[in-house]
Every structure is written in structure tokens, then in C-alpha cells.
Symmetry: D4
Subunit: 218 residues, 8 copies
């Protein structure tokens, strides 16, 4: 059985009562429940059912809730993940990834809104991340989805592209960004589905933690 | 009646004999015939029918034929068009554009294969074109189609993006490049259809010639 | 660094508070903020934060807001842009283009609802625009998107087609209009994405301003 | 049982031997066999099997074969059908329609290549057809598929649009032409599938023959 | 200029005030205004502006409004149109077609909900329509869109298929019904776009009126 | 481990040498090899490698090869499967299904070409199949794919629809037929993928054999 | 006439009043009305019209209503159907299938949420179902839609895959699940449309009842 | 400048002579040329131009050529990559990935054809790879594309899914496999484009080499 990735509960499409029960079961089993794509009625159903001694962190932008039992402690792995977004509209998806990677024990560095409108901010941000020795980069972008390919062409660490459902007209809903990342000429780039912050955070942490474990074992 | 754009004869999908007749009619009417997307059997049917005194120029890469009657002279307009391609596979489409713009009287400057694999060659090429005072840029790119957006973000003249049918998997046949250009965050970019070298060349020449005419009239 | 195109802030998909901050930053940097695709909650967040001395123009049809610091003055370039719509439903997109072109210093002439239902109004409108010596035409159309191709076949200046998300059934949401414009037999036509009024206005102004600059410099 | 439409045998996708048997059966049953989308190996298989006394007409452009037993006579109905094409590449599909309408007893008038490149030829052609009192118009067009909508906006008889698989890039293979015709603002237009010459010819003849029958009965 | 088809005003996508003005203009010009795809706020804006002496008919199912000046009279042409629907959900689209055909002077016969669930009701309905001597049939169907093809295989008059946006999953929103009608093996069938009741009614009336005129003139 | 379905080897996309080895391995393991979508170069590679004592049956229409070791005997189950096709072009796919069902021990009854063109032949065919007490029906159809839905509306046994890649224009390659079957109003219909004769034959035999087993055990 | 499948009334897209009338007619004709995809306003319209002596069962999850006249009794057939879902979000569709199968006289066994997140629960669930001797399995899954293929590879009874409209980004709305099931390598799997619980329940009951009837007759 | 990924020359779409020149330039610059998607005419053009002292390795399955100057030596990094395929048709894409990873200094372990048809071979293969301590897994699969998701659910290292263009009907050409991988419920999975062996090999090597570097530096 795998142990490296915590269970993430997807609230979307779930009945609030069903969700609350699933959350309680997860809390009991592992001491923690991580819930994504939470709507307000989900949050209320959850609040009603959880015991008062638990710690509840709500990240509105990321639409996520993390609940810990008192004695639950995240073990810091030493893994380092960098997260970059092209625009401000991409931040919610980036925050999803950040929470997952942190819950998997990684240290996360972020640089938001460094894309086309702020390309002059890209180079210093990238440089700082490389100097901090991040093991992997998550690059979040919508519309034409150029940034991940540009970044992958400049660094020697793996890059995970996350297309976001930003954009309009032909290629809207992230389709253009996704296909652009899949077609990228730059080698070193892999992708997850549109708005897939959770998926990106999990795999980034797996990579970073693998690196760290290797570092430890030599 | 418009006079600024010559008639371009599309060979694709035409019966060779029908095509040859259309070419002859164009020659007689205007002293010139420009034929695009020519296959070898088209070329042979045309050669059989045209009189020996005409000048025939064949551009194999561009799959184009230009036929002039002895006394046909292109009037140089002074318009200046720059053409850039991301890769070597994009050159045939760029050549199509070049021929059209030249037949419309413009001077054309080219910089091929300056995209992702050769990004260090982009800046000097662009600089040279700006210094040469080109009135408009055509940027040809396939796969993720990033280059036109990047270029449009760096210059103050209009940029015409031409997606090419290069690429594979999701977004293949130029769909990814086209949608990326349509979604581009950089303002100053317009597009033509996939592999639309002829369309790009014609509109670029219209823009450049308009500028030149203005220059003349003051 | 390019200077010819002002920064346009896209409100769509942005958190109102984030948007307001971005607007303030733009105001401080350049003395002006142009915001597109504004919803009412965006407008309210902006109104709360901007100083009373600024001039705020709201164009409801175009869903745009333009904010100027007291001392901000648009420099008239002398560039001339014509804008035509096929129907009345296309007007909001046309207005977007108009505002951008005006903010870039151009004079804009409009002729709305001259398409299929009012084709007899097309010819006099076009004639007037040509006589006024516009440098470029923006033609906005939904459904079968015929008008830009028809216009491009009749004039010797560049035409920018803007498909709108009008229509129903197969090809709805502007897909039919976009593909029709991309497939157009008439040379001299380029396109922007569906509902891309901002993109069309910016590139039209670039073309017109280029012409004017040439006129001045000789 | 319906009697107004003859059976048309679609050769495409059929084994030559199977096809030949089907043709023989049709010949015996009705004295006539009409075969569409014929490839050369189909034609050869058919020639081998049919008796020498039958009349075989092959229309290469239309890729059709019509075989009549000696005593088979088409009854002229007096119905009149007009067929127009936008370009020369649309002629094979138009010819398909023409053969079907003629085999159903109608008189057919054609005007080919009167579209965008030859719009000045459209008006006299249309005028002539109206004066000849055609009961219905078939308009065949590829690429942006504008012509049927334009024609439908100018006449008071029903128009059948036939998109052809001409075109390139986004909307290629007739998709753009089909959607444009379906989205047409002009009322009075119906469509058949891409390259559907047979379908258009049959329904046009049904309309024209209905009119004629009415004329007779009063 | 064509006179056979009245102008139909599409409310969808129009600003209520703009719409009301267009309606008034139509009323003044032709004594009648026909408005389709009307929402309640459209209806209210119209009611406010029209003079009390006009006759206003609202068909809620069809989402249409017809407004006549006192002295406006529809001239009965004697044309006969039959309309059939597969299910009850297809009735609104059928009603749209009915109103248009009636406003164009035709007599309309309807048979609703005679499709799959009530196939035993199809034969008597069809028989009655043929006996009443209708000139053309409109067949409205969603989901798999079978009915138009079935009907076209049984009658000798033209059939206009109207796909409706009924259905779910793959092929939803009428795409399945539309493609099925376009692919139909039965000759004698033409189609209009999804939910295209107005388009179907107009062309059906054109056909029926043409027949009738022929009948009169002999 | 399941035992009810034999392994079917898909030749398509396989290297001939690789295929031959896989075939030999299957022969040795189970005494039989069933190979589908065989091209001529596949067949030759297989013939070279198999021992002379094996029985090789080639069905060209179905593009299938069945190879049995001398002592291999199909156990007749008593299951009964009916297979119907709409047209003659659908026969290859029907034959694929027939071979699979027979190799799984079932008795198969067929009625080919009973669709639209021969609907009068459908009822007697269906009646005969019901009288023979078939347990399940496979109905194969292309283009508008109506037949499976029609049949499912008339029988009380399960119907498996198989769309075929017959057709043209919008919905070509079986897409129209597949969506029509998925949208079918008739209950009692399930589908397999386009041209999925093998899949249909296998599941039909599973159903029939299940019925038979039940019959035996009571 | 078929008798094996009850009529199911689809509420979706129906006017509440129309629906209520259809329900009453069904009640009178067959003593039972089964209504699917019911919205609250549908339910209210129905409640108003039905007589107090009828039994009304509402299944909110399945969005279904079943109404029986006092004397209506479902005849138990002895058929056995197993239903499995991959996740909790798939349960509403599974419940739809369950109700239909039960209304057709079958006994239904369910195992919900045994997919990826709970794969360890799949094997015991499947084992139990096989031991209970179910005749057919319905497997409901969204997103990547893997479960039906996995199950079909492990059992010797027919499996009906039901894709659900769960998922996000590319392949959302069940498209990914549907295509995965259609592409499945495992033989023994057939599919219905996305969210097609009713269709799956009906065909499963047809299969199970067929088996049972065979068992009885021997 | 990045140094971790060698330049890969894509032969597809390139003129043989152009390709040969690009290859020579790469050889001179870096002592090595890696060429993918090579056709036989490409190979011949290359053979003509390269000096005899270079080592040329051709992998026909992978359609790749690697050319080294005499003194070129790959530096072994110690990175370990595992590659798994679902079927035999997926092997060419896997071989592409293998060559790239080896050229980037990694040790590669492969297990081919362990998917659905040979699932019993999956577990021992995976176990062996984990015991060999591979840093990352590449999983190649076509059709329903299930394997990468299944594998990602069982291991604690990152998994790169590569969809292949295997399959038929709806979702063919790898679209089904790609969407299934993007929709995967298992966390720990990222994807590259269809048939993207080169992209997968490069990013896998980047991950493995990063791990190894960490191991060395501690």
C-alpha cells in the first residue's frame, strides 16, 4: 500500500451530508481531512459535524478546507517546491497546489503574476527559486498557456504545467492553454488537467520528497 | 472596384485542365497569374498551355507559381514587411507570404528558425527589422504557437500570426497554434487561418502599402 | 520596451478586491486605468478605492471603465479607424474596440447594424468611411459572420474581422462566425478571437497610428 | 409506397462485386440504375456484369453512372431547378445534383463559378434563372459558404444550400460552410450535408415536381 | 427586392430598449412586427412602447410575439403546411414554425407527439395530412432525431427536418438529432439548424406559396 | 479468473513478426488463436510460422483469421444470437460479431441489408428471429444509425447497437450513428464503439450463454 | 407489441402542466407512472393532479417518482441485477437504474463507492454478487471511467457501463468516461449514454428476465 | 543557459536536405545528434552527409537515430527510470522514451505488455522496479489508457503517463487515453501529449538526475 500521498476529498458533486460523513471517516482514520472544491453549503455541513477540538483551516481562494485532529503533525520532509503563476486569475489554482504540497511536508515558494503582463518579474523570481534549490516547479497559466513552456526552456529541473480555465472564444475554458502545454517544444514539461491544482501539488511533492529521501540515504 | 490585391488562384482541389484555363484567362486579363498550393500535375498542365514568351517562376518550397507576360512589371511601393518563423518546418508557409507581399510591391525581410530552439537569435533579428523600419511583422509558428504573442509583446507595429499545421496529438494540425494566437494576452496581434501564408502576405502588404501611400501624400 | 499600446485590465475572473488594487497600481504608474469585461461588483469595488479627483467614464454597453488622473491627456494621433457591425447585438463588442482605439489616440467612425438585414445601408456607410480616409476597418459580426469577408472584397485597406458569440445550434457561441472569417475567400482580412473587441481596437490603432506616423515623417 | 424518388445506389464503401449485383437487381426491378460516388474499380465491376443492350452514361466529374434498359424513358415533369456554384471546385457536387434532378424529370439550369471571385456574374445569372421561372435554387459553396445565404436574401423561392468539403485549417472539410449555412440570417434557406449533391438534387426535384403537379391540376 | 418573407426580429441577445425601438420601426414600415425568442423583460419593454390600438398576440410556448397595426391583414395564399413533432418537448419549436407559416399566409396542420412513444399515431396523422394535400412537411425531433428520415421515406413531398436541443450526454443540445438528419438515407429531406423553427416555417411557406402560385397561374 | 471469453488478438497496429509470435503463444496456451483486423502482410507473417497441422480459417470480409489446433473443438452452448444489418456496407462488422459469437459456442442467425432501403424485409426477418427464440439481437448500422433504436422498440430481448464508420460530412466515421444510438428513446438498447463487431459478438454470446446455462440449471 | 419494458416518462424539458397530464394518462392506461429527471416544480404539478388513493414514491437522489394505482402489483420475475459505483457522486445515476430494474420485477444488489478510492472493497463486493448469482452487472463511473472495464475483465456475465457526468477539464461532463468505456480492451462490456441510469436499468432487467424465463422454461 | 537536456531534432515535417544540415550543425556543436520520427528518406539524406568516423545507431521501432562523434561519451548519472507499456503496440513510443533517458545518462528498466491482457504480469514487474529503486515510472498506454492511473495508485514515486494513438471509433488516435489520464482519480500522475515518448523520456531523466544529484550532494 502506498503511503506517500494523503487522501484528498473532492467536495464537488457531493451531497453535503454525504461529504460530512466522508470527512469524519477520514478524520478518524488518518487524523486529517483535506477537502477541495468546497462550496459554502459544503463548509457548513462539515462545520456542524466536526468536533470542536479539531483545527479547521479554510483557504477561500483555493476553495479548500484542511482539518486536523489535535495531535496531528505534518512531518517536514525538506522537499522544496516552487509555484509560479502567469496572472492573478491563476492564483486560486496555485493555492490548491501549495496546500497539497505543504500537507505532504514540503516547503513551498511562490511567485504570482509574473507572466506576460509582468515578464520583467519572471527572471528574478526564477533566479531566486533556483538559488533556493527548489526540486520542481509548478507553472500555472490560462489563455494561451505560454509560461510553462518558456520556463521549461530555461531551467534544468522538471516543470509541471497547470492550465487554468481562463480565456474566451475559441480555446476557452483552458482548452487552449492545455493544448499549448501538450504541444510545447521545450522538453522538461509535463501537464495535469485544466485547473488541476491538487494533482500538480501532489506530484510535485512526490518528486521533491523523492529527491530529499535520496539526499538523506545517499 | 478594389485594385490593391491581385487575384491569387488556388490550385488545390482544381482539375488540372480547369486550372490551366483559369490561369490563361488571368494572364490575359491582368498580365500575371499567381497560383498557390500547386501539385506537380497542376504545374505540368500549366506548362503545356502557356505561351513560351511568358516568364514562369516556380517556388517549390512555397508550392507557388508566378507567371508574368513579358511586359508585366511589379510597381515597387516602398512598403516593408518582416517575416519571422519559429522553426524550419514553418518556412514553406512563410515563403508563400513573402511571394504575395513582393508581388504586391513590398520589400520583404526574413528571419527563419528563430523560435524556441533559437530564441537567442530572435532579439537581434527583431532589432534589425525594427531598424529597417518594417511596417508590419508576419510571425509564422506551429505546435504551441507562442512566438507571435511573444513578438507582439515587444514591438509597436502590428503583428500577423500565422499558425502552421505542425504538431502532434491533442491540438495537432495547427489547432493548438491557432487557439494560442487567438487567446494571446499580448495586444497588437491578429491571425489568419492555419497555413494561411497567402492571406497573411496580402494583408501585410495592404498595411505596408497604406503606410507608404500616407508617407507619400503627407 | 513597447509604448504604443496601453495596458488593458481584464476584470473577468478577477476577485473585486484584487482588481481594485491592480487598478490603483495602473493609475499610479501611467495616470490611466482601462478595465474591460467589468461586472457590477467589480465597478463597486473600484469606486470605493479610487480618489475623488479622478475622472471615471463607464460604458455600460461595452462593459468598460476608463479612469484618468486629472492631468492625464490622450494625445490625438490623427489615426482613423472605421467600425462596422452586422447587427445590433454586435454593438457591445464594437464599442469595446472603439474605446480602445480612442484611448490610443485615434478618431473612430462607426456604422452599426448595416449587415444582412440592412445591406442597403452598407454601401453608403462604406463609401463615407473611405471618403473620410480611414486607415483600417473593424467589421463585427455573429452567426454566419459573412460581413467582414464581403467588406474585405470591396476595399483596399486592411479589414479586421471580429466574430461575436451570437447564434444558435451548430456553430453557436461565435464558432461559425470565426471559422467563416478564417475561411474567407477575400484577401485582406485578418481576425481576432470571438468577442475580441479589445484586441481588434488595439491592433487597428497600431495600424492607423503607424500610417499617421509615416505621414508625418515622410 | 412512395414513387417520387428513384433509388440511388451509393457505391462508396461497397465491395465491387456486391455493388454489381445490387445494380443488376435495380436494373431488373425498375429499368434503371443510378450509382453515385463511383470509383474506377466499381465502374469496371459494373461494366462486366451489365448486358450490352443497356445504355450507360458516365459522368466523371460527378462520379456517377446512370444505366437504362432500352425501353426506359424519363418522363419530363416540367419542373425547373436552378443550380449555382461559388467556385469551380464545387462543380462535381453540383453535377451530382443536376443528374438526380434530371433523372427525376426536371429541367436544370446551371451557373457555375459565380461566387466571390466572380460576384459580378452572380446578378445576371440569378436574374436569368428567375426569368426562366425556376421553382427552386440549389446553391453549392465551400470555404466560408456565404453564397447560399446571399442568394436566399435576394429571391422569393426556396434555396437549398450545399456545403462542399473545400477549405483548409479551422473549419476545413466543409464544416465552416455547413455551419455558416445553418447560421444564416437570411430566411428561405435549408441545407443538406457536406458534399450532399444527391440529397439536394432529390429534394429540389420533389419541390419542383410538386409545383408542376399543382400547376397542372389547378 | 424580395417580398415573400416578412422580417422576423430576433429578441435574443438584444437590449430590451434597443429591441423596442426596432419593433416600432418595423411596425411603422410594414404594419406588423414578428418577434422571436422573447424573454419576459423583452415583452415588457415592448408593451411599454407600442400604441394601444395595435393588436398584440403572445404565444408563450413559442416565445413569440406578433404585433399588427389595426389595418394589417394577412393575405391567405392557400398554401398548406403540415407540422409533426416526435415528442411533447418539441412543441415550442413547432409552434414557432406554425406562426411564421401562418403569418406568410399558409394554412397549417399539426400532429404533435407522434414519434417513438406514439408511433401508432404517426401513420393516421401522416395519412390525414397527405389527404389534406399539404405541400410540404416540417418534422421536429430531438434526441436521436429519427422521425424526419422515417417520414421522408414514406411521402412524395419535401420534408424539412428541425432538430431540437433535447437530449443528454454525447450528442446533447441537438447535435445528435442534427447529424442524424444530415446523414439520413432517405432522400427528400433537408434541414435547418437546431431549434430553427422560424427558419423552417419560412422556407416551408415559400415552398407552399410557390406551389399555390403555380396552381393559380397554370 | 474468467473463462467465458476467449482472447482475441488485435492485428491492427502490430508489427507482423510480433503478431506471429503472439499468435503462436495463444495457440500453444489455448489450442486456438482468433485474430481480428488482419491486413494481408499480417496474414502472410502468420502463415509462415504456424505448423501445417493446424486449421486456418480466413474470413476476408470480416478481416479475421481463426486458427485451431487439430484437437480443438468448440463446445456448442445452445445460445442463440441474431444479427441484423441496415445496409450491405455494414456486413463486414456483422461478420466479425458472428465469428466471435460462434467461437463462443453460440448459434448465429443473420439478416443483412434490411434497413431503410429494405424496411419491408425487416419485419419478416425480425419475426423469424423471435420465432427461433434468439436470446439477444445485434443490430449494425451506419449513417443516421436508426435501425437499432427501431428494433429495440419492437422486441422484448436486449439489443446491442453497433455503429459503423459509414457516412459523410458532419457526423461521418460513425459519429452520427453512435450518438443516435446513445440518444435512442427506445429502452432496451446498449452500444459498443464504432465498428465494434468483436465487442458486440462477445457480449452477445455472454448474454446468450448465460441464458442457456440458466435454462440448463433451472 | 412489446410488453417487457414499462414506459418511462422523462420530466426534463417538459412543461409541468403537460407533464402532469401525461402522468395521468399513463396511470390510467397501465396503473403505474414512472417519471425520471424530476425537478421540484414538476413534482408539485404532479401532486396537484393525482388522486389521493394512489401511492407515490419519491426518490430524491435518483430524481425519480413512481406512482401506483392501489391495485398495481409488480410481478417479481426472479431476475437478479448487480449495481456497482466507483464513487459516491455516481450514486444518483445508480439509483435510477435500481428503480427501473425493480419496477421491471428484478431483485437488485448494490455496492456503492468501491472504485479507485476503495478498490480493496471491490473484490469482496464482486465476489458476493457472483455468489448471489446476479445475471448482469451495471457499473457506474465518472472521470476516467475505468471501473467497468476492470470489472468486465474479471467476470463471465455481461457488464453494462454507465458513464457519469463527473470530472473536470478536458473530457469533462462524462465524455472521458464514455470514451474510455467504448475503448475498453476487456470484452464483455456494453455502454449507455452519459448519466443513462434509466437505459441501463431497463436493459439489465431485460437480460435478467430473459435468463429467468429461460430458467423457468428449461 | 540550461544544460540538462540535449537538443532533440524532430525529423517529421522537415525536408531531408534541411534535416541533414541541421544534424551536421548539431554534431559539430555538441558531438552528438539525436533525431526522432525519422522516415527512410530522412535516414538516407543523413547517411550521405555524415563523416564515416561517427557512430550511427538506428532504432527502427522507435524511429530514432543517434549519431555520436568518436570522442563523445555519455556521462552515467546513476538516475534510474522504469518504463512500462500496456500492450505491444505501445512499445515504439516506450523505446523513444528509453533512448532519450539513456542519452541523458540514466539507467532504464522496461516491462512491456503488462496491461489488461497481462495484468498478472504487472505486479511482479512493478515490484521488481520498486526493488531496483527506480526514481520515476513512465507508463505508456493506448485505447482506454487505464494503466498509468492504476500504477499511480500503487506506488509512491511520480508516474508519467504517455497516451498512444492506439484505438478506434470515438476517442481514437489517443484522445480517449489522454483524457482518461488527465481525469485520473489517482494522485501522482502527470501526462505528456499523445505518442510523446521523447517528452516523457526527457522529463523522467530530469527527475531521476535531480534525485541522483541530491543523493550525491547530501
Amino acid at each position: 500500500m502506498r503511503t506517500g500521498v494523503p487522501e484528498i476529498i473532492l467536495a464537488e458533486g457531493k451531497d453535503p451530508e454525504d461529504l460530512a460523513k466522508i470527512v469524519m471517516k477520514a478524520l478518524e482514520k488518518s487524523g486529517r481531512a483535506i477537502i477541495s472544491r468546497v462550496k459554502s453549503y459544503h463548509a457548513e455541513a462539515i462545520k456542524k459535524i466536526i468536533p470542536s477540538s479539531t483545527s479547521v483551516q479554510i483557504n477561500k481562494k483555493a476553495r479548500m478546507i484542511v482539518i486536523n485532529k489535535e495531535d496531528f503533525v505534518i512531518e517536514k520532509t525538506g522537499g522544496k517546491v516552487g509555484i509560479i503563476t502567469a496572472g492573478t486569475s491563476d492564483i486560486p489554482v496555485a493555492e490548491e497546489a501549495k496546500i497539497i504540497a505543504e500537507e505532504m511536508g514540503c516547503e513551498v515558494f511562490t511567485a504570482y503574476d509574473v507572466g506576460v503582463a509582468g515578464i520583467h518579474r519572471l527572471f528574478p523570481s526564477l533566479k531566486e527559486m533556483i538559488e533556493r534549490n527548489v526540486d520542481v516547479l509548478i507553472v500555472v497559466a490560462g489563455r494561451e498557456g505560454t509560461l510553462p513552456s518558456v520556463v521549461a526552456g530555461m531551467v534544468d529541473i522538471p516543470v509541471i504545467g497547470v492550465p487554468t480555465s481562463i480565456g474566451y472564444g475559441l480555446g476557452e475554458k483552458g482548452i487552449s492553454a492545455l493544448t499549448a502545454m501538450l504541444q510545447a517544444c521545450s522538453l522538461g514539461l509535463v501537464v495535469v488537467n485544466i485547473d488541476g491544482g491538487v494533482a500538480a501539488g501532489a506530484v510535485a511533492a512526490l518528486i521533491a520528497n523523492r529527491v530529499v529521501k535520496a539526499r538523506g540515504t545517499k
